[in-house]
Symmetry: C2
């Protein structure tokens, strides 16, 4: 860094003191003499002359170094450390100067479910495409497609028109035009209607409820879930009749339905969704291959079942199943409300 | 690509036929004429002369193009599509030729819990460091440190010695020296001892059981879990006495303990682990700040409780709580077995 910037290296006593304090704690935990670590500390406190310190993440300092007019932000590698120091970088004068000199682009995010990437690309082309000052990315993942429209401040009108044209062409697939994820949409629909939500999961093993509870502020909406990975627990915790499992198999529309009803009763929630499937890599049969997943969602006024054959490995199948489950709940909530 | 390789572009009829078949399906779903899509299909089927086709991911082809002796692999951007076509790329003659011409490096992975990154870096330096033909990366994440030692085939002995020296210096933190993750270690310890496992989760909302069930082949070990996000469910599904919650709060060592015992009884498992904490961003108090998490693990022969104050945002706190819960189970399984 110093070489590129054409600056001398200097040992900064203030930084050394700071890193030393953290390292003394480390030495104590290691039952070692601090002097053994002192060399490493001095090395970490030796920085390009004039660098602005961003403070420490652990023992690693962050820096802003100016090369001419250009501020260069130097951060530790691990993402959590990098993220911890980033706000400090934004607050420095050189970085502020850059940020204040420009206008942030406008951003519109459309999220779609059930539309293929090429279908969205086609609709995008028909809607007129990017044009001057607008840059759109279309990204498919787990049966969702995310369209990000970035526009220069001068191209805001065109971006709005593009978003509207895309939205109307793909209306039946569009579930969010403000960047909200499917779990946020589901949680807000429930809250608006005063409904509580719970889950019954087999192959997803807790990922559906984990994704719902990842959104802060909805502890009164998602009350909980039951992960019944074994058949025994499907019977005991979700009240699925043993005969149903024997007759149709644990991976079946019938068992998904019974799991959803069981969760609704046991968790005392208004709306419950159940997932059971073959996530693989083993356990598939000719009749029920790896990737086959059954869903069932129940509300007081209606219920929906569905099934998918997902391609991909165990992780993909589980991730896609989570998306499938959440969209089934959304469909139930918007199609037939009480 | 064609320009860089100095090759002409050519429309490949075989590729066009393949992409057309997929696109006709898309057109049908969109209720559109195929002719509207034909232009895009021709574009996707137009490739550098002599390119080897890797087949399609959706409508996107993958290619291998040779520039002199060097094969260049061209893949679609989305990770699942890229991953789907990668094995085909490995099977082509030009890529095979490169792979067969070299010897893969040796790899040793050490995983540690509770040791800081700088502590590991120090132990690494004392153990002699990389030396010729050995390259080590040390990466910290969620209170675990992963050490990857990559060695040229000629430096295998040195890599083994380095791994052994590191392992003995950091013995009390080392939980895996063969790359197995903490969930794999826990699941295998349970299976070896014929024990079943279950979870009771509040702030982690299903992430612990989701991580356990992500490992295939252990459906007889992890039977399931109860996510009791609300106090009501802690009482009803896990049998936590209401007075306990009133007296100590839902985030307390006492409630964690009761949740673990409740899960063990309700799920009928041998070993249960419970997590309750403040994941934030709101809900923290002076006495119980955001990041404070209580754990409790119960086996037939012993039990352990612990608590951590995790730094970071909601996601980090939840992720770190999962790691903390799994390591508590490991400690219970190895320290005092029946």
């Amino acid at each position: 860094m110093a070489r590129v910037a054409g600056l001398e290296l200097e040992l900064r006593p203030d930084l050394e003191t700071e890193i030393e304090a953290v390292s003394r704690g480390v030495a104590m935990r290691m039952r070692r003499e601090y002097t053994d670590l002192a060399g490493g500390v001095r090395k970490q406190a030796t920085v390009p002359a004039g660098a602005i310190s961003l403070g420490l993440a652990g023992t690693a300092p962050g820096l802003v170094v100016e090369i001419g007019e250009t501020p260069v932000v130097v951060l530790p590698g691990p993402p959590p450390e990098l993220q911890r120091l980033w706000p400090n970088a934004l607050a420095t004068t050189p970085v502020r100067r850059v940020l204040d000199g420009g206008t942030p682009p406008l951003r519109r995010t459309l999220r779609l479910f059930g539309a293929g990437e090429s279908m969205v690309a086609q609709a995008f082309a028909e809607a007129g495409g990017d044009g001057d000052g607008v840059e759109t990315t279309i990204c498919a993942r787990d049966f969702e497609v995310v369209v990000e429209i970035l526009a220069d401040p001068t191209a805001g009108k065109h971006a709005q028109k593009l978003a509207a044209a895309l939205g109307s062409r793909l209306e039946r697939y569009l579930y969010s035009d403000d960047g909200r994820t499917i779990e946020q949409v589901v949680l807000e629909l429930c809250r608006e209607r005063g409904l509580t939500l719970g889950t019954a999961e087999s192959c997803t093993g807790g990922l559906v409820v984990a994704r719902l509870t990842a959104v802060p502020g909805f502890s009164g909406t998602t009350l909980g879930g039951i992960v019944a990975y074994s058949n025994e627990l499907k019977e005991r915790e979700l009240g699925v009749p043993a005969e149903l499992i024997v007759e149709h198999g644990a991976v079946s529309a019938e068992v998904a339905e019974a799991m959803a009803h069981g969760a609704r009763a046991r968790l005392g929630v208004d709306v419950a969704v159940a997932v059971t499937g073959v996530a693989g890599p083993s356990g598939g049969t000719e009749e029920k291959p790896v990737g086959l997943v059954y869903f069932h969602a129940v509300a007081p006024w209606a219920e929906h079942g569905s099934s998918f054959s997902f391609p991909g490995d165990r992780d993909s199948i589980r991730r896609r199943s989570v998306v499938g489950a959440l969209h089934l709940v959304r469909r139930l909530l918007i199609r037939t409300s009480p």
